[in-house]
Amino acid sequence: MIAALRVARAAAELQFREVAVSGFLLFGALVQPFFIGVMTMFMLRHRPDFDPVYVVVGAALSGLWSVLLFAGTSAISHERSLGTLELVVASPASFFVLYGGKIAGTLAFSLVSVVFSYAIGAWLFRYPITVADPVGFALSLLFALVALWATGMLFAPLGILWRAVGQFLGVLEYPIYSLSGFLFPVLLLPVWTLPVSYALPPYWAAVALHASARGEFDLPALARVWAVLLVTAVLLMLVSSRLFLAVLYRARRAGSLALT
């Protein structure tokens, strides 16, 4: 267990260092939430019930999601392009734990979008940004990160096992913003899309963070959302662990450690 944690920590640290200097992921974590935050602030501020905290949380979620999506879907293929996948596949360390650490490192980096989105609302637009339930918000963020991490773990092997699926995953940025209600309520969408929203961890992450930031839920209501986030995370982990095994099996059985 300790050895596994050591592997995960080393992978997370290395991944954090790598993504922190990646121009594309810096763009996803800082520049894109900036533009989305500014645009939606302008677009939503005429609403009678406008709350800048809603936009700040939504823009932060968009940054978290974009970084996770791009780093998660390319986690294995990036390793392959660097020529290090053979070493990873042949290593005695757990493939799943290693990528778990990498995705955790990516998520840790993507947290800058939360800080940056706060700065957009508070400094650029000079709105008073106050979180109504700070403890609830902090816990919601923690549960949200766990569920998003599990989602990233699902994406990482998908693109390798089915390349056509991998190409479609890259387009999931705006659909998830929409289906998860990051910046507008999902009730604006057609009714048939609601079950899809309910099945998505980012939707529950948005519910928890929006509600705790605005003080809309009491503790039992928030706890129910956290429970859903945990359950979806566990389910996704179970599926992704099978998929990681399938990737490993294919790499070793075919004798092509780089999965080419």
Binding site: G23, F27, V31, F35, M39, F42, Y174, F184
Partner: protein
């Protein structure tokens, strides 16, 4: 002319890795539609403008994707190892440089047609019959003008290396400052002034006129101005490319780095 057509054909095919349909469908058809849907729904929720304001703005805004393809052409030449051959070739530069954008104009029109089809079929956008010709003209001008931006970015990508990042910056600046989602009158004066200097601003304004059934000549001045701005960007790109090419020859760095 032959050189122009050959350049246009091969740079477009190479961009989609020899035209496998999946990357093309994902990057050029699906992505703009989901982006349009997102901004239209945010706009509808905000309620400060009519839904058609966001639908028309974002359907024309789909043309921003043309900047990706055109600017990536130079970057891809480098990755595929063909940039030094182009720089060493005695072929005239005008058809080679401007040929990169040719297919993207047609492709951009197709993407916008898809976006308008979505806006009409899913969101119920109504376009009066008398406005259709003007709308098609706005689409053409928008995509031609944005190819000009793409050519400038492609030239800059010769030394900046990351063309995709440049195009992403351009796309978000265009989304914010051209009136696609926010009326220019609501932006701070300096931001509105930048918006006025960008292509697309007037094409979107003209398209909104035509979408309300305005006669064809109502948007001519706007479209002519957008075309002139786009041409300005393209010519600037040509001169930047020429300057960088000369510099790389003098310094013996044909890959540009």
């Amino acid at each position: 002319m032959r050189l122009f057509l050959v350049t246009a054909h091969y740079t477009f095919r190479a961009l989609f890795h020899w035209l496998r349909p999946v990357p093309y469908l994902v990057n050029r058809l699906l992505f703009p539609l989901v982006q349009l849907t997102f901004f239209a729904l945010v706009g509808q929720y905000g309620g400060s403008q009519s839904l058609s304001f966001y639908l028309v703005g974002n359907a024309i805004g789909v043309a921003t994707l043309s900047t990706f393809g055109v600017s990536q052409a130079v970057a891809d030449e480098r990755w595929q190892g063909t940039l030094s051959y182009i720089l060493a070739a005695p072929a005239p530069r005008v058809p080679i440089f401007f040929g990169r954008a040719a297919y993207h104009v047609v492709d951009g029109m197709l993407n916008m047609a898809g976006a308008f089809a979505l806006a009409i079929l899913v969101f119920g956008l109504r376009v009066p019959l008398e406005g259709v010709a003007g709308l098609v003209l706005s689409m053409l001008v928008a995509t031609v003008a944005l190819c000009g931006v793409g050519l400038l970015l492609g030239a800059v990508a010769y030394i900046f290396l990351d063309a995709i990042l440049l195009a992403n910056w351009a796309m978000f600046i265009l989304l914010l400052l051209t009136g696609m989602n926010i009326p220019l009158s609501e932006l701070p004066p300096f931001a509105a002034a930048i918006g006025e200097a960008l292509p697309l601003t007037r094409s979107i304004a003209a398209a909104r006129l035509y979408a309300t059934g305005a006669p064809l000549d109502a948007g001519f001045a706007l479209l002519a101005a957008d075309l002139a701005i786009g041409a300005g960007y393209a010519v600037a790109g040509y001169f930047v490319f020429g300057w960088l090419e000369t510099r790389s020859r003098i310094q013996g760095r044909l890959e540009g780095v």
